[in-house]
Symmetry: none
Subunit: 401 residues, 2 copies
């Protein structure tokens, strides 16, 4: 469904929708034939919800595609993640809560090592510690460029964010990171005439950076990629008629929510705090995106048991949410993160959609295999969930007479 198509069907209604995202909740059995993390977890509240709701497995981007956090969430927000792509520079900024203005061009940067001939010897400068990164960023802030304001921010280890702020800048500049050892960094060439000035400024920045970093081997170079401006996308208020709030402790998720026009609430990072904030602000919005991060981190650490425990921690909070009496509740993840793989994966993600009108199926358990047999099917595209939520919230008009 096009956003345009949905937008024409929106009708204003006083109903509330909650999208509860358990980051990386989908998993795999520890050994063949065993239980996944979610199946192993004791989740009486989510199981009860599954029994009363319609279930399935949702596919965030496409068959076999492992989503990053950006695409995984955009799909859950109803935005086709292949159509609505965010530049790496912008994602980097979102990831550290850097507020981009419409004037900004952002790039993701690496501190790297170049040899005496100027060829890249290490794209990550031996993974320098974050403290060293901060020191070097402070140094780089000495750089001045005519007519633009410059922001140089530490992300983590060897990663940094570069933002140029000024009139008439463009993101259409070639990456300088050659992504190959033994190659020289590339020239920041403009990809279109309107980017000539930006490319010139980036070249100037890199020249000064090289001089400032010369004595800081292995971090003696900055490699840049993903030059991009903050995109201007349709906003949830307009396309879905939703006054939406995001409750998310980590910057990346707050940032993606902001791109689609959600109001980002300040929250602590404990699950209890997030659910408490939902209660506090219940009357102020008609859509809540509630993001719980840490089971993804447990999956990435390969810690099956910790992931199980974190899922159980969320389950214990579900009754608080139900007491608020949402009209529609969706529980799912933005992707799978099997602790077996220690990484995001392509596996579709269990989903429950509950409403008074959902037409419950026979699934009575929130787990990968149980949800396969659900009424939403074993591969419903994640982007289809918001139109379904809107329908269940009685927020869509009939199409055609």
């Amino acid at each position: 469904m096009d956003l345009d198509f949905i937008q024409r069907l929106i009708k204003p209604t006083e109903t509330k929708i909650v999208l509860l995202v358990l980051d990386g909740v989908g998993g795999l059995p520890r050994e063949s034939g065993g239980l996944t993390e979610l199946e192993a977890a004791h989740t009486p509240n989510l199981d009860d919800l599954a029994a009363r709701g319609i279930c399935g497995l949702q596919q965030p981007v496409g068959p076999g595609i492992t989503p990053g956090s950006g695409p995984g969430h955009l799909a859950l927000f109803g935005y086709d993640p292949i159509k609505y792509q965010v530049g790496r520079g912008v994602l980097s900024a979102l990831g550290i809560d850097f507020k981009l203005t419409p004037q900004d061009v952002a790039a993701r940067g690496n501190f790297g090592t170049v040899d005496e001939k100027g060829r890249v010897a290490d794209r990550r400068a031996g993974r320098i510690p974050t403290e060293k990164n901060k020191e070097l960023c402070a140094l780089l802030r000495e750089i001045e460029l005519p007519g633009v304001e410059l922001f140089i921010e530490t992300v983590k280890e060897y990663r940094l964010l570069l933002v140029l702020r000024g009139e008439g800048l463009s993101g259409k500049v070639v990456d300088t990171d050659p992504q190959e050892i033994g190659e020289k960094p590339l020239e920041p060439k403009p990809l279109s005439p309107e980017a000539e000035e930006t490319a010139r400024l980036v070249r100037e920045f890199l020249g000064q950076a090289r001089e400032l970093l010369a004595d800081h081997h292995p971090a003696n170079m900055v490699l840049l990629r993903g030059f991009s401006k903050r995109p201007h996308w349709p906003q949830v208020k307009d396309v879905f008629g939703l006054k939406a709030a995001a409750i998310a402790a980590y910057p990346m998720y707050r940032g993606v929510a902001q791109l689609v026009g959600m109001h980002v609430l300040d929250t602590g990072d404990r699950v209890k705090e997030e659910f408490g904030l939902l209660e506090d602000r219940w009357n102020d919005f008609d859509f809540f995106f509630l993001h719980v991060k840490r089971m993804d981190s447990a999956g990435e650490d390969g810690d099956f048991d910790r992931k199980v425990a974190l899922i159980e921690e969320v389950d214990a909070q579900v009754p608080r949410l139900l007491e608020l009496e949402p009209d529609v509740l969706i529980v799912t993840g933005d992707h799978s993160t099997p602790s077996l793989l220690k990484y995001h994966s392509w596996h579709p993600v269990p989903v429950i959609l509950w409403s008074r009108h959902c037409r419950a199926d026979e699934v009575d358990r929130f787990g990968e295999r149980a949800c396969m047999a659900g009424g939403l099917g074993p591969r419903i595209p994640a982007v289809d969930l918001i139109p379904l939520a809107l329908a269940n919230a009685l927020r869509l008009e009939k199409f055609g007479a």
Copy 2:
């Protein structure tokens, strides 16, 4: 599948397909955990057919989209309902069996109320009775416009149909219905140069109508929308190679069938009569669309038990149909109409496809939850059913060598 793609695969064969549409058959349980109307109905014949066929739930338009009768049927006829859209004026004409010619521009009209400043005070003129509508339409027939023939027809209550018939008319005219109380009716502006003459004629019509209706408060204005010409779409004879007949008691369904080139048969509105007509004309066509309306009306009335009884009435006729020995039989609805919601809904619709070659699944019951587990899946797009029916009728060539 594009119609073009299917068309290239068509081969002539002497097989017969029946599409039995139970309007609004899909439903919801009266209370959470209970049975739907279809599940509650005693349907031994449809259950037996389900056991021998392949079942599923079909999605008429898209996830969360509640279809009107037009889109719901077009999808069942194999036409993408988002691509093949019918203007409201044309749908209005179809709904009262008004035969549109290629020269006609049709608009849906409301009798409305305007205040002394010409602002809309009531878009439905206090829902005047149909008798009053007929009286006013007779009055409006006094209007004469140069060079065009004018048709003004009562639909129901405050609704009427306006048709202009003449050379060079266009449907590209702005709605005059502002759809907001307190606004003045809009000017019927042309949306493209070829509609200038049509817009001028509509303006002239509205001016005369205002004078004629001046003393008929609350029905002192006509508001028009959905100016449109009868679309010229690919015909089922050409794209599917089918000599198709429609057996439908209600004008709207006959009209939509006619748009895709079906031959519309005259029938009474009793279920028995419709099945009798199918028997009578069995040798004359190779595709029959048989439409049973009244369970939709029961759903819209919120009458669970009447809907159950009507489903049972259709079930009792099924053996007559089977005795004709169709090669392929599809049983489904054009949308769900849960008596709980008293309205069309977005829920996917149970479907049985039976043929000698259908590869039966394990479903042995025609009901929402039973069909979820069927071989067609829980969300097969409705447009996919005709290609499947053609295949099962051995009417499609192999694709590629």
